[in-house]
């Protein structure tokens, strides 16, 4: 019974923890401009993150090595450092975007300017990282994030024409009002949002934090392969509500109030309350994950002592690095940079950095010295290699597409 509860809890937190500000914004923007014609990208991205998150979790559980240690060992110091620079920069951008997301949601709820919420939210993020145990942090944020299901409920309440929605999703084509270049630019952005590298840094480091062994592999596989696709379903629901309400009305998504507008149209004030709780929880959870990931990547590259299972004093450089990130990042928000715009850029930059993260995981998952009998099965290797080709294509085309389309405008 207890074990079953553990499985259920793991799945629920995986669902609630899947969506972050990048998914929220990218899906709403795409839904409002392309309808459901890019849903296939979410499906491809979710399968990819399942594949590689599961692989990095397996490497961490069997060999006790988190992803960035593996990256440095396999890429060497030089390429590893370049990778660290890119990953850390994107991660910091995501931290800022997530904290901005918390503040924008609080602004919607309270009518107090989001800038005033920045110090409050940042202090709260730091306090949780400083004092709260890893498992509690994960579960609370994940469970509250489940409130985002209200997007799916709202979609039903809106009583859309299911036939035409399914048509958009199953027979995708570029809408007449958009060019193929913008279509593919947003495809790359959605892919980047679904496969953000911090998710694997966090997932593998979390496996070490929670002391997983080879025995926990089944549980982790269920969490990933059930929880993540259901999380992806929430992403599609967000795009769906935008496609039903915002697309016909020609409303462009430039702030969070447009993201939640369809929820209000479908379910009224109560639905809005759920959506706001869900957004705050999801972005808060993701702010914790990205801040920790900044610490994880630095500590694992340089070989510092790290982890929330240690007292802060026993992982001093790890905690200091996160404090510096939390001081530096959000002060950028105070300059008045638009958090939504920042989010859109961060998902595209994520897409660029993807190959650097996923190739070393694949190599080590095949190394018997690390993995013993738990090396990748053949089928997984074939699928992962196909994914590396897709990832590489997305990564290489991201910048040209960004320039051609003026970042999708």
């Amino acid at each position: 019974m207890k074990r079953l509860l553990g499985v259920a809890l793991g799945i629920l937190t995986a669902i609630g923890g899947f969506v972050d500000i990048g998914d929220l914004v990218a899906n709403a923007v795409v839904g409002s401009r392309f309808g459901l014609s890019l849903v296939w990208v979410v499906a491809v991205g979710v399968l990819g993150i399942c594949l590689f998150a599961n692989m990095s979790g397996r490497v961490a559980a069997v060999s006790n090595r988190a992803t960035f240690e593996v990256i440095r060992e396999r890429l060497g110091a030089r390429a590893g450092l370049a990778n660290l620079g890119a990953s850390f920069f994107i991660n910091l951008m995501t931290v800022i975007a997530e904290i901005g997301g918390i503040c924008l949601a609080l602004q919607l709820a309270s009518s107090v300017s989001y800038l005033l919420w920045v110090p409050v939210a940042t202090a709260a993020v730091w306090l949780v990282i400083w004092r709260v145990r890893f498992s509690i942090m994960e579960n609370v944020a994940g469970l509250l994030g489940l409130s985002l299901i209200v997007f799916a409920v709202a979609l039903f309440l809106l009583q859309p024409d299911w036939g035409s929605l399914a048509g958009q999703a199953l027979a995708p084509h570029v809408p007449e009002s958009e060019t193929p270049a913008t279509y593919w630019f947003y495809a790359v952005a959605l892919f980047g949002a679904a496969m953000t590298p911090y998710e694997v840094f966090f997932f593998s480091s979390g496996a070490v934090e929670e002391g997983w062994t080879a025995k926990d592999l089944v549980l982790s596989r269920i969490n990933v392969f059930v929880g993540f696709p259901l999380g992806g379903f929430l992403s599609v629901a967000i795009a769906g509500t935008a496609a039903v309400v915002l697309l016909p009305a020609g409303i462009e998504v430039s702030s969070l109030s447009e993201v939640v507008l369809p929820v209000v149209a479908g379910g009224g004030k109560i639905a809005l309350a759920f959506a706001l709780v869900g957004i705050v929880a999801a972005t808060f959870g993701a702010a914790l994950e990205t801040t920790l990931s900044s610490g994880y990547t630095l500590a694992q590259f340089f070989g510092w002592s790290w982890g929330k299972f240690r007292r802060p004093a026993q992982a001093a450089r790890f905690h200091l690095a996160m404090i510096i990130c939390l001081l530096a990042g959000p002060s950028l928000l105070a300059t008045g940079v638009d958090p939504i715009l920042l989010t859109e850029y961060s998902v595209v930059f994520s897409a660029i950095a993807l190959p650097l993260t996923y190739l070393p995981i694949l190599i080590v998952a095949n190394d018997q010295q690390y993995m013993g009998k738990h090396v990748n099965p053949r089928a997984v290797n074939i699928l992962a290699t196909i994914y590396l080709v897709i990832i590489l294509a997305a990564s290489l085309s991201a910048i040209p597409l960004m320039i051609m389309t003026g970042a999708g405008s």
């Binding site: 060999s63 090595r65 240690e69 440095r72 060992e73 060497g76 110091a77 030089r78 590893g80 450092l81 400083w130 004092r131 709260v132 145990r133 890893f134 500590a299 590259f301 340089f302 070989g303 510092w304 002592s305 790290w306 929330k308 299972f309 007292r311 802060p312 004093a313 026993q314 001093a316 450089r317 905690h319 200091l320 010295q369 690390y370």
Partner: protein, 133 residues
């Protein structure tokens, strides 16, 4: 003049590739606490450029290097010997996917930055020395 062949390397025991099995590996102390990574190796090889005499024994690893060695390994150059942070090879207790030492991290020069930050910054913030709850 007969050309003397180099002696075959002693193949008893495990053979390791320094690049693959030593460089950039994680180093942990006797309690399993991460200390640093292997940023470079110090060998007792002769100065580069000098001719090597016949019968010279193969170079041996003297120490694992860390700290400024990472910068010079990536960008080239060589710091003064006094600037290198060494972990003597005699402290190494085991080689696996990680390198384990037989000594505690607190006794090593390689962990002075960690100790300094702990004692002067992180340890002074309230709650810094307690387990998370």
């Amino acid at each position: 003049m007969t050309r003397q062949r180099l002696p075959a390397p002693d193949t008893n025991g495990r053979s390791l590739d320094a690049q693959l099995h030593l460089l950039d590996r994680q180093i942990v102390d006797a309690d399993g606490v991460p200390v640093t990574t292997v940023d470079d190796l110090e060998l007792d090889s002769p100065v580069p450029g000098t001719p090597i005499e016949q019968g010279t024994p193969a170079p041996r690893i003297q120490a694992l290097l860390t700290g400024p060695a990472l910068v010079t390994r990536i960008f080239g150059g060589k710091p003064p010997a006094s600037r290198l942070i060494r972990i003597p090879w005699s402290d190494v207790a085991g080689l696996g996917t990680i390198i384990s030492l037989g000594v505690r991290a607190n006794s090593l020069d390689a962990s002075w930055v960690e100790r300094w930050i702990r004692d002067h910054l992180i340890g002074k913030i309230p709650g810094g020395r307690h387990d998370p709850q």
